[in-house]
């Protein structure tokens, strides 16, 4: 009966939306390294730990006031709640129960509750004995009055900080990666200390006129000497003792430098990866960004423009010198080969990236990156550079949305400059937004006041705007003249006064920034108003 009830309850939990979302919330709060919630939680916990440790230090000399005691209780309850929640998150009991139950059903053997209970218990005990959980427990326990003896363990509260500081974790990871070297060195050091302490004890015991009374003092002296600290409270008096000291100091110097070099080496090796990880983490925080593959001359210009626009972007380049340059400019950069699937995926092609720009100097690589990106994300915008006219078609085939040809464009610009300098400078000024007059597109939102109005009714002249044309995919407009196909839309140049605007048409206007801004605001406002009325 009880078994059936428990299995039923497990199914209930599995199906319960609320239970799942609660668990997900706490997972995000406590464990999920990518969640923003966790970083806030960590900061709060760090503050709590610091304040509570400060209180403990304060308590050494002064009795605590009532409010301080209350605060201490609060801190402890938060710690306990955190400890229990982590235990809860550590494993999914209902899943274990159901897994075993379904297995038993399938094999037609009786379902034994006590075996499952044992497995669950084993899991939870496993949690209790993980190092971080032990630290958590030790940070809580001493607060229980009968266990006041354990006060020393209050220092474990500081160790609790491990949980919340990523850099400490990183340090631990770096050390862990050099486990073999460190263990070897540790064994050697232990051996050295052992020889040193027995040697000094033999030479320097009081019977020989020395100061070393027992093996512990010998051990203490050996450690102090090997570490090149040398307090001098115990110093060898006999010749034999001094020889031991000299040898120990020299070898100690070697061991110390070896230790430092191991740690430094490990850090150097891990540093690049760490830096890249921090790049990825930063990218994760952006809602939208652009991936620039290749930080050559073109890439640099694009990056500068995007920076001016305050748009986020990340650079991927294989060349060391380019990566260094990007770093010096303070850009996010990944030193990898963008043609690899993993690299561009990690950079977030499916996770916030809005466009990929391939601007390497090699068309072969550009085609490859374009193909890779298109394969990974069928909807993303890809702008690719073609250095050779023949490759434009291939880039479009590979899936580029737009292809840019640097030398062709430059040639075009020169021709325009020679032929029609005034017109050319005017249009460049508009594009670059150097003057206050800009060219913009305004969308006719459904429900806004301009929808269904004719051009004459809107009165662009009174609004101090110049209407160049209308971009629209609406088949209703096909009867108008002056239409130019652009991709799957049409551009209607100089529309007649009776041209009636339909929703999602784009108005292309030239005008002062604020005139355009004001008109856009009016459109937006009228749309919101009509939306509310509905």
């Amino acid at each position: 009966m009880l078994t059936r009830l428990i299995v039923y309850f497990a199914y209930f939990l599995k199906a319960s939306r609320r239970y799942q979302s609660a668990k997900l919330f706490f997972y995000n709060l406590l464990e999920n390294p990518d969640s923003r919630l966790k970083s806030y939680f960590d900061v709060v916990m760090i503050c709590l730990v610091m304040v509570s440790v400060f209180l403990l230090i304060h308590e050494v000399n002064n009795p605590l006031s009532e409010s301080e005691v209350l605060f201490e209780h609060c801190v402890i309850s938060v710690f306990i709640a955190e400890y229990l929640l982590r235990g809860w998150l550590y494993s999914d009991n209902h899943k274990i129960i159901l897994e075993h139950y379904e297995k038993a059903e399938y094999l037609n053997v009786p379902f034994r509750l006590n075996r499952v209970a044992r497995i669950i218990l084993a899991k939870k005990i496993e949690y209790v004995f993980t190092p971080l959980a032990l630290i958590d427990l030790l940070a809580i326990l001493p607060s229980y009055r009968p266990l006041r003896v354990l006060r020393v363990f209050l220092i474990f509260r500081l160790f609790k900080l491990f949980r919340y500081f990523n850099s400490i974790k990183l340090f631990a990871n770096v050390l862990a990666s050099r486990r073999f070297e460190l263990v070897t060195l540790g064994i050697f050091l232990g051996f050295l200390v052992f020889i040193g302490s027995t040697g000094i004890y033999l030479f320097e015991n009081p019977a020989n006129g020395g100061q070393v009374h027992n093996l512990f003092e010998a051990f203490y002296w050996a450690i102090v000497t090997v570490a090149t600290v040398g307090y001098g409270d115990i110093s060898p008096q006999t010749t034999g003792g001094r020889i031991v000291a000299m040898a120990l100091i020299l070898v100690g110097l070697g061991v110390l430098s070896f230790l430092v070099s191991i740690i430094v080496g490990a850090f150097n090796e891990e540093m690049d990866e760490l830096r890249e990880n921090s790049t990825y983490a930063e990218l994760n925080r952006f809602d939208s960004f652009i991936i620039i593959c290749g930080f050559g001359r073109v890439g640099q210009h694009i990056a500068r423009q995007l920076e001016k626009d305050r748009l986020h972007f990340v650079i991927i380049d294989t060349r060391e010198s380019n990566v260094l340059k990007a770093k010096r400019l303070g850009y996010l950069v990944i030193h990898e080969d963008a043609s690899k699937n993993g690299v561009i995926q990690n950079a977030g092609i499916n996770n916030g990236a809005t466009a990929v720009i391939c601007t390497t100097g090699d068309d072969v690589i550009n085609v490859y990156i374009t193909l890779t990106s298109r394969h990974l994300n069928p909807d993303i915008r890809i702008i690719s550079r073609a250095n050779n006219q023949d490759n434009v078609k291939k880039l479009y085939q590979a899936g580029a949305s737009n292809v840019i040809q640097p030398f062709e464009i430059a040639g075009m610009v020169v021709a325009e400059y020679i032929g029609q300098p005034v017109a050319f400078e005017a249009i460049l000024g508009i594009i670059r937004e150097e003057s206050h007059t800009i060219m913009e597109t305004l969308c006719v939102h459904p429900g806004s006041f301009v929808e269904g109005m004719s051009i004459a009714e809107i009165g662009f002249e009174q609004r101090k705007l110049m209407l160049i044309g209308i971009i629209s995919a609406n088949p209703e407009h096909h009867t108008h003249k002056n239409s130019y196909p652009i991709k799957n839309q049409h551009f209607y140049f100089n529309p007649e006064p009776y041209f009636v605007l339909r929703d999602s048409d784009l108005l292309v206007v030239i005008g002062r920034e604020y005139a355009i801004g004001y008109f856009r605001d009016q459109i937006e406002k009228s749309r919101l108003k009509s939306g509310r009325q509905r």
Partner: protein, 232 residues
């Protein structure tokens, strides 16, 4: 007819040459050897082979005489600087357009006497950026200013004795009469600056003023005819 001399063989020089209207400009390509000359001649351009380091040979192709514009499109910056200095020394009034590889060389080229510096990488970077931030506008401009379709942007100078003299800009009504859009006016009374026709100020047209218009090529042609002196 303007005469243009193009130095240096590259994709860019070919593109620039093919975009310039052969009816309005006489273009001569200066090759460094016969093979290069043959390659360009195949595309239908006049070519000459000279050593640009020699002033006499530069004079022989008409610099200092009938060449109005010089394109320095050598891939190496110091060649361009040298050519610019030589040409500027021969002719004070020649228009020199030079490309630059290293941005640092831009100042040197300007100091050497170039009128316009083109950085292909910069232009490409800007273009990519425009495509990213304003795809619609870029598309339209590609099709108009950089004339892939029939839509064009043109500047029209008002000649002496034109029927448009003393006309007000608001009376032009180009969009109704000619299917053209008046983008802006350079009013010589107010300087060289272009004033956009966004209903801010009324300009009275005089000879020498420049209209910048946008529209289909044939409409522009028709309008140009109308601007010409009435008496003819």
């Amino acid at each position: 007819m303007k005469r243009i001399a193009v130095f240096g063989y590259s994709v860019m020089s070919l593109e620039a040459m093919s975009r310039l209207n052969q009816e309005q400009y006489s273009i001569v390509f200066i090759a460094k050897d016969d093979a290069e000359a043959a390659l360009v001649a195949e595309k239908g351009f006049d070519t000459k082979v000279i050593d640009f380091r020699n002033d006499d040979e530069l004079r022989s192709i008409g610099i200092g005489a009938d060449v109005d514009t010089l394109f320095c499109f050598y891939p190496r910056d110091f060649d361009n600087v040298f050519l610019t200095i030589s040409a500027r020394a021969i002719d004070k009034n020649i228009t020199i357009v030079a490309i630059v590889d290293d941005p640092e060389s831009a100042e040197k080229l300007l100091a050497a006497g170039a009128n316009k510096i083109i950085d292909p990488y910069e232009i490409c970077g800007r273009k990519t950026h425009e495509m990213l931030t304003k795809p619609d506008i870029t598309n339209i401009l590609d099709n108009t200013v950089f004339g892939r379709y029939d839509l064009n942007m043109a500047q029209i100078e008002i000649p002496e004795g034109s029927c448009l003299e003393n006309t007000k800009t608001s009376e032009l009504k180009l969009n109704e009469k000619h299917n053209l859009i008046l983008i802006g006016v350079v009013d010589r009374e107010l300087g060289e600056q272009l004033h956009f026709a966004i209903g801010e100020k009324e300009h009275c047209l005089d000879a020498g003023d420049v209209l910048v218009v946008m529209g289909p090529a044939r409409e522009i042609k028709a309008f140009k005819k109308e601007v010409e002196p009435c008496g003819d």
